[in-house]
Symmetry: C2
Subunit: 214 residues, 2 copies
DNA sequence: GAGAATTCTGACCAATTGGTCAACAGACGT
DNA sequence: ACGTCTGTTGACCAATTGGTCAGAATTCTC
């Protein structure tokens, strides 16, 4: 047997169908477990159980626990940056900001686990994401903060610190994913009702719109 | 030796000075470690190291890892409910809400670890706090939501869903504790400057004040 | 300062955990 | 039908982890 023909080296070879399907099963299971227990609290056995695989089989695809964690984070982190990137400097401040809120809210609704994974990673000191936070994310936020400042200078918005405004939008939207259990404890079955998300969206849009209005 | 004279039974006896001092050292260390790694991710050895004790010595005071976790949560959870309790139905809506925001922001500043501990506990499914969330917290929020609704009915506030307003305030204030590392990555040394917290406070107060204003 | 209670520790243990490996089972092109 | 490469697994291992225990050291009480 060719000694390079191992899980690590397989990247260079053409990916099999089985490979694709299994790697995705593992990443889904990893997201599930890491987003609940964090890197240290998660166990390979647990991930293997969720992925319905034996542990050695899982380790055939990802040789170390850390590899799964990195892969899960990498697979999702791009999605997380996009909404802010879409904030259009040419647009109308009010509608750009509501559009941004709505996109982030939508993301929290459809990928709550990814949101919690990021939350855990940040709380744990961002050992993996730190470079991205200080790099791409910082650059992106600086850029968009400048846009907001321009809008304010043009008198199209109330004078608000753009960084803290962005933090507020992040906090309020992600809260629906990260603290879902708390919200459920308080709202009970009302959370299942269809108007729930509509009310959340209307409240956020309303407060922020009036909040940033000139 | 009296067989009841153990760590567990000691509660019934008068507490020693050494006991008080060591138990507090352990709880501080537990807060430090649990708030970073969560229950599963934390190890007794780690907590013992932070508390500068040997592991068996630590286990002399708290016999199981879970006991430390429960004690840490219990010691801090009361503090967390208080700010909302202080929301005064007789007061002016605008000033009551800013006062609430300011108290929560102050709490996030002085006890960021406790905030992160709660965040982790909630993300992990609130195995310990669930009863409190569904009990006292829910009752309290229902009560204050009714107050806010009354204010709205009296035309003293914009018509906003009171529950989602409370969630927004929780989210934005706790964000400064839970996502401190992300904020630091973006703001850099600006975060050390004295005006940092003042700007955060001014931005939150401003957005919420205009946001809920009639 | 003797005696008793409390506090502390090294040595130890069983279970869990991350990870390896040799060998077996399937898939697939020829 | 064959050989080869891919995929799968039980058995295993060393390190870590939660927790115990007998006894040593210290503190407290009289």
């Amino acid at each position: 047997m060719n000694p390079t023909n191992t899980a690590r080296a397989r990247q260079t070879r053409k990916r099999t169908r089985i490979q694709e399907v299994n790697e995705e099963r593992i990443l889904d299971a990893g997201l599930e477990v890491f987003s609940t227990y964090g890197f240290r609290g998660a166990t390979i056995d647990q991930i293997a159980a969720v992925a319905k695989m034996t542990k050695p089989n899982l380790l055939y695809y990802f040789r170390r626990k850390e590899d799964i964690y990195l892969a899960v984070l990498n697979r999702t982190h791009e999605t997380w940056l996009q909404p802010l990137e879409h904030l259009n400097p040419e647009g109308d401040p009010a509608s750009e900001i509501t559009a941004y809120i709505d996109r982030k809210l939508e993301l929290a609704r459809e990928s709550p686990k990814a949101s919690r994974l990021f939350a855990m990673e940040i709380i744990q000191g961002a050992p993996v994401l730190r470079p991205i936070l200080e790099g791409r994310l910082k650059t992106l936020v600086d850029e968009k903060a400048a846009v907001i400042r321009r809008w304010i200078a043009e008198g199209r918005m109330a004078p608000i610190d753009p960084y803290h405004l962005i933090f507020m939008i992040w906090a309020t939207t992600q809260h629906y994913a990260d603290f879902e259990i708390q919200i459920r404890a308080i709202l009970g079955e009302r959370m299942e009702r269809p108007e729930y998300l509509e009310t959340a969206k209307r409240t956020l849009d309303g407060v922020f719109l009036r909040g940033v209005g000139k």
